[in-house]
């Protein structure tokens, strides 16, 4: 199973800034291994963000997002104590969900 994400959710005024670090190889499919064989692409495809269980953002990613991806976005109306959930799914079907509380 994939390693946990690091999610920081910080409220300021009537919104919260969400910063996420995900643990993933994000193999581009363009690199070759030691024997010259192409390493198959392996990357996060779908990202979903929820606020207290309700979907507020979805994203589709290509293989060119950096290894151990970083994502920052802002949720309107989120306040301290709210739960922010992030789920990613990669092209091999592996998935990971983590949650953080807005502070």
């Amino acid at each position: 199973m994939a390693d946990p994400m690091r999610i920081r959710a910080q409220a300021a005024g009537d919104k919260a800034t969400i910063r996420v670090l995900m643990s993933h190889e994000m193999e581009s499919g363009q690199r070759k291994d030691g024997t010259g064989k192409l390493i198959p692409a392996w990357h996060i495809q779908d990202v979903t963000a929820t606020l207290n269980g309700k979907v507020v953002m979805t994203a589709e990613w290509g293989p060119a997002v950096s290894k151990n991806p970083f994502l920052q976005f802002t949720i309107k109306g989120a306040k301290a104590g709210d739960k922010v959930g992030i789920t990613w799914k990669d092209n091999k079907g592996d998935t990971r969900s983590d949650e953080a509380t807005v502070s």
């Binding site: 390693d3 994400m5 690091r6 670090l21 950096s66 290894k67 970083f70």
Partner: protein, 264 residues
Amino acid sequence: MKKLFFALGLIGLSAAAFAQKSSTDSIAEYRAMLQDGNPAELFEAKGEDLWKQKRGPKNASLEKCDLGKGAGVVKGAWVELPRYFADTGKVQDLESRLVTCMQELQGFNGDEIAKTPFGKGEQSNVTALATWISAESKGMKFNLPQGHVEERKMYEVGKRLFFMRGGSHDFACATCHGQDDKRIRLQDLPNLTKNPGAGNGFGAWPAYRVSNGQMWGAQLRLNDCYRQQRFPYPLFGSEATIALGVYMGVNGKGGEATAPAIKR
């Protein structure tokens, strides 16, 4: 039919564009943008778990490991390493000391770990542990002990190694890191013979490298310096690498620990 509007100013795209400004400004902007989310945090979390987890043939955690400030004391340990350890009779840096603890407390084979390539197996665990332990000293000031004669000897050996010219290109560490305000390509080179360079340079590793997505400990940092210096391969935890650590760390006394940093 969709219409395409040219709407610069309505949409902002931020990216450090090297060509459009002075290169120094662009690089500063690029670095500032990186600071926001340092994937080293992922390794810190892993390292903390590894410290507390019961592992190895003896099914023990590392919570009794003595990093120099007493069994189990993590905070502030890193800014006093490398230092002399009476139980091994050696001056050890953070990574070599961790291997000692993994051997003594958890029953791993220390020689096997030292021989494992960087980023593989238990070696990647050593890096994660070092990342977490260094982060626990973030913001503290370097204060390597020089009270024991072995520590003073290692400083002098480190100094000799730092200035030693060799390999196919006659390079020494000092060739790149012995002067103020120099660059290699666009990269600023810290002067490691004194502060602020020594504290800044030595105090930044372990660091996450964005260009290859790898977490590098101080041992790998030195290893790659020697590679590019065209020297032979320095053994993991070898006395030469530790002596250099003592030399840089003592020169950096009073400098602030910034590890784990994020690098290009």
